[in-house]
C-alpha cells in the first residue's frame, strides 16, 4: 500500500494520530522520505519544548517520564514521548520495553508515545530521532520528552535535539558519579536524584552539587545557567511538581536569552549537521563509482597497501577527475 506524504502531513498538522505514526515510520525507514516530510512540516515546527532524559540504566528514567507526563497533563499540556532502546548489533533486532512503565498514558488523547530502536546509531539515539521530534512538534505537542538509551557515558547526541536535559541519577552510585563526569555530567541542565526514598539520596545530591561547583564546564559558563539538583521518587510520585517547575524555569531562561546566542545557533547546527551527512553521502557515492575502487579494496585485502594509502589514492583520483570535468554535477 502506498501512502501520500502530502495528505499525511495535512492530517498530522491537525493532530491525527494515525498520520503521526505513519509519518514517523516513513522517516525512520528512509532518509529521502524523511527529508521530504521535514521540508513539508518545517514551518509548523519549533513550538514545542524538547526535553532530553538521560542517565545510567536502572536510574528510573521511564517511570520518571511517566510521572512527568501525568503532571504536564494536569497542567493542561499535551505530551509527546520518544523512548529509545538499543538495537542488537548481532541480530539487528530490538526489544522495546519502555511502555511497560507508561501503560496508563496509552489511552490519553493528549499523549503520543513512540518507541525507537537505535538501528546502529551511536550516541544514545537513532538516526531519525530528531526527525521524529520534529514530527511530534508539528502535530502540536506542547512538550516532547526524549528518553535516551541508558548507557551513561557517551550519550551526548541528545544535546543537539533537546532544549533542556535532565540527567537522572540515583543513590548508591557512589564513586560512579566521578566516573560519569566526563560524559553526561557536563550536559545536564537539571540534575535529578531519583529513588530519593532510598538511603543516601542527600549524599548523592551533595556529591552532584560539589561536582557542579568544581566543574567550570564550558556549557554552563556560556549561558550562565546554574543547573539545579532535584530529588524525586518517581514510584511514590514525590518531587515531580518541583522538577517540572525547574524544567520550566530553564525554558523561560532560554527564551529570555538573546535569540542570536541560542536559537539561531541551534538552527545553524542543524544546517551544518545536514550538510555534513549529505557531503559524506555524496562523496562516498561518487568515490565508490570510481573504477579503481574495487581494485584498491582488493589490494588492501592482499596487504599490498594499507587503508589510508587506498583512501589517498582514491581522493587524489577524484580531485584530478573533478578538475578535468568541473561540470560533473549537472
Amino acid at each position: 500500500m502506498r501512502y501520500n506524504v502530502e495528505e499525511l502531513v495535512q492530517k498530522l498538522i491537525q493532530g491525527d494520530k494515525f498520520a503521526t505514526a505513519r509519518l514517523i515510520s516513513l522517516a525512520e525507514n528512509d532518509p529521502t522520505t524523511a527529508q521530504k516530510i521535514i521540508s513539508l512540516i518545517y514551518p509548523y515546527t519549533g513550538r514545542a519544548h524538547v526535553i532530553g532524559v538521560t542517565g545510567p540504566p536502572g536510574s528510573g528514567k521511564s517511570t520518571l517520564v511517566y510521572r512527568l507526563a501525568k503532571e504536564w497533563r494536569k497542567r493542561g499540556k499535551t505530551v509527546g514521548i520518544v523512548a529509545v532502546d538499543p538495537t542488537s548489533p548481532f541480530t539487528g533486532g530490538a526489544l522495546l520495553g519502555d511502555r511497560i512503565r507508561m501503560q496508563e498514558l496509552t489511552c490519553d488523547d493528549g499523549v503520543f508515545i513512540r518507541s525507537m530502536a537505535t538501528r546502529g546509531s551511536l550516541g544514545g539515539l537513532a538516526r531519525a530521532t530528531k526527525d521524529v521530534v520534529r514530527i511530534l512538534d508539528a502535530s502540536g505537542k506542547d512538550v516532547i520528552v526524549v528518553e535516551t538509551v541508558g548507557a551513561g557515558q557517551s550519550e551526548v547526541a541528545i544535546v543537539r535535539i533537546a532544549h533542556t536535559i535532565l540527567v537522572v541519577l540515583c543513590p548508591g552510585l557512589g564513586d560512579e558519579i566521578q566516573v560519569l563526569k566526563a560524559g553526561i555530567m557536563e550536559i545536564g541542565d537539571v540534575f535529578v536524584v531519583n529513588k530519593a526514598d532510598r538511603e543516601g539520596a542527600d549524599e548523592t545530591a551533595m556529591q552532584i552539587e560539589d561536582m557542579l561547583n568544581m566543574a567550570s564546564t564550558i556549557r554552563f559558563n556560556e549561558t550562565g545557567w546554574i543547573p539545579p539538583v532535584v530529588k524525586t521518587s518517581a514510584v511514590y510520585n514525590r518531587g515531580i511538581s518541583e522538577l517540572i517547575d525547574r524544567i520550566e524555569e530553564h525554558w523561560r531562561f532560554l527564551k529570555k536569552m538573546d535569540k542570536d546566542i541560542y536559537f539561531r545557533r541551534r538552527v545553524e547546527q542543524d544546517v551544518i549537521e545536514a550538510l555534513r551527512s549529505k557531503i559524506e553521502q555524496m562523496a562516498l557515492n561518487h568515490v565508490m563509482k570510481n573504477e579503481k575502487y574495487n581494485e584498491l579494496i582488493e589490494k588492501v585485502a592482499n596487504k599490498e597497501i594499507d587503508p589510508y594509502t587506498a583512501a589517498d589514492i582514491i581522493l587524489n583520483g577524484v580531485i584530478r577527475s573533478e578538475e578535468k570535468e568541473p561540470e560533473e554535477n549537472e
Partner: protein, 136 residues
C-alpha cells in the same frame, strides 16, 4: 545501509486479567533475536490499550498471549478495534492456552494463526515472515 533497513515491528501484548507472561517474554525475545523490533507493553492490557499502542507504534504484527480463558471475548475485540481504526493491514496472531475447538472461530474472527504450548519458536518466526504485509 543497516540504518535504513526496514524492520518488522511487532507488538506483543497480554490482554485481560492474568499475570503470567513467561511465554510472551520468550516469544518477544525470540522475535528480537530473529531481527525484529519488538514492543512489549506488560501485563493486563485492555483491547483499547493494545490497539492504541499498535496505532502509535505503527506495528506490522500484533501477537496476543492469553491464558485466562477470555480469548473468545478479548481477541475478536482487538481485531474489530484494529479494523475500526483503519489498521486492517496488521497481522494478528495469538498464543497461550486456547482449546482447539475455539481456533476455527478465532480464525473466522480475523486471528491469522494460533500457536499453542510447545510450538517451536521457529514456526512463529517463519509464519510472521511469510505473512506480514509490509507497509509502503
Amino acid at each position: 545501509m543497516s540504518s535504513t533497513e526496514r524492520k518488522i515491528k511487532v507488538l506483543i501484548a497480554k490482554p485481560g486479567l492474568n499475570g503470567h507472561d513467561r511465554g510472551a517474554k520468550v516469544v518477544a525475545r525470540a522475535l528480537r533475536d530473529a531481527g525484529m523490533e519488538v514492543i512489549y507493553t506488560g501485563l493486563r492490557q485492555t483491547p483499547e490499550q493494545i490497539v492504541e499502542t499498535a496505532i502509535q507504534e505503527d506495528v506490522d504484527v500484533v501477537g496476543l498471549s492469553i491464558l485466562s480463558g477470555a480469548h473468545m471475548t478479548l481477541l475478536p475485540r482487538v481485531v474489530q478495534l484494529l479494523r475500526e481504526k483503519g489498521m486492517d493491514d496488521v497481522l494478528v496472531i495469538a498464543g497461550g492456552i486456547i482449546p482447539t475447538d475455539d481456533i476455527p472461530k478465532l480464525k473466522e474472527a480475523g486471528i491469522a494463526e494460533v500457536f499453542g504450548p510447545g510450538t517451536p519458536l521457529k514456526t512463529i518466526i517463519e509464519f510472521i515472515k511469510k505473512n506480514v504485509r509490509r507497509k509502503g
